[in-house]
Symmetry: C2
Subunit: 211 residues, 2 copies
């Protein structure tokens, strides 16, 4: 019945739980989910297998926790870009951020597809938080809309569609590298950004040529 608040009760940390989470995510990223056994996880984390079952209800519980951890970067997509610079630069920054983000999240997203239960848990998590590519579209599209309002982009342009194209280009480049084991066969991100910026700009400040 006391009212002390600041002292943390009970358990000192010990860090094993986080070690398990980290190890699982790490193994997941570079070996896939097929042979991801609790044994391997325990060994890699330097704990016993029973510890895994102490910290998590079961294998599915562990994986779900890992997913939530691995998907955390998703919330970063919410924040709109800083409009205080050159448009091409803003787009380049956004593209780079998106790519890095996809790079981190993709393995988790893929692993979840292996099992219907995980798939369901994933979609529930995403749906609860209203996550997804549309957040990126909203952020970049919002920035472009501001540009449009400022007369920098032709009013007839569908800025959300343009944003989707940029995001898609970033995404498929990550997929090519991670899933298909190749790189350098697609146009550089910089080219994409410059191209999009040029196409957008042509409507309001470009110098088109006649036939």
């Amino acid at each position: 019945m006391s009212t002390e608040i600041p002292k943390r009760r009970g358990r000192p940390p010990s860090g094993q739980r986080e070690a398990i989470l980290r190890s699982t995510l790490e193994l997941l990223r570079d070996r896939g989910i097929a042979k991801l056994t609790t044994r391997e996880i325990a060994r890699h984390a330097g704990v016993s297998e029973a510890s895994v079952y102490y910290h998590f209800s079961d294998r599915a519980g562990l994986l779900q926790a890992v997913f939530e951890e691995g998907l955390q970067p998703l919330s970063l997509l919410a924040q709109p870009p800083n409009p205080d610079s050159d448009r091409a630069e803003v787009l380049a920054r956004a593209a780079q951020t998106l790519s890095q983000f996809f790079d981190e999240v993709l393995p988790v997203l893929i692993a979840a597809q292996s099992d219907p239960e995980l798939q369901a848990a994933l979609t529930a998590y995403i749906s609860e938080r209203d996550l997804g590519p549309h957040r990126g579209v909203a952020a970049i599209g919002g920035y472009l809309r501001a540009q449009q309002a400022a007369g920098e982009i032709d009013p007839s342009v569908d800025v959300d569609a343009a944003a989707l194209m940029l995001i898609g280009a970033c995404f498929i480049r990550v997929v090519e590298r991670q899933l298909m084991g190749q790189a350098g066969r697609l146009p550089e991100l910089e080219r994409v950004v410059i191209t999009l910026d040029g196409l957008l700009g042509a409507g309001a400040r470009g110098s088109p040529e006649s036939r």
Copy 2:
């Protein structure tokens, strides 16, 4: 030592092998690879488990065969679009074809990521045949280049980058639907096509406004 040619030697078809392949691909697409056991496959295909091992060397051999079957649509990406129509229409057709293609291939691509061996086999297969998104870029980019040569697109535009954006937009829409279990939160493909067509056209035939 005879020389008869036209009669097909030996085995009558029997179709079990194909039934197994089909069942595996089907189970893979809608349940993931985690609990994809030879038992389930055999049961679903209406054959015994031993038959699976008669037709395929082992589980990995079966999966590899399924992958090659499932990835066959990849070769369709080689054929360039037919230039005998309106540009927007050509792009729309390409976008639709790409989307359908991604829809079929994505589950296989993802399943292969679960296991390093499968991953290696997949990249070998892809690399041998020089497959990948760059083929799509080459096809659509080639078409746009022709448009460019005909004066329909400003010469300064990087058509390959533009092609990548279109392809990426198609891809990420498929990913949203299949992997994240949502739909309708991203701009429609048609909007993307119209937007891209508009942006491309503005360079040579549009009527831009001044500031």
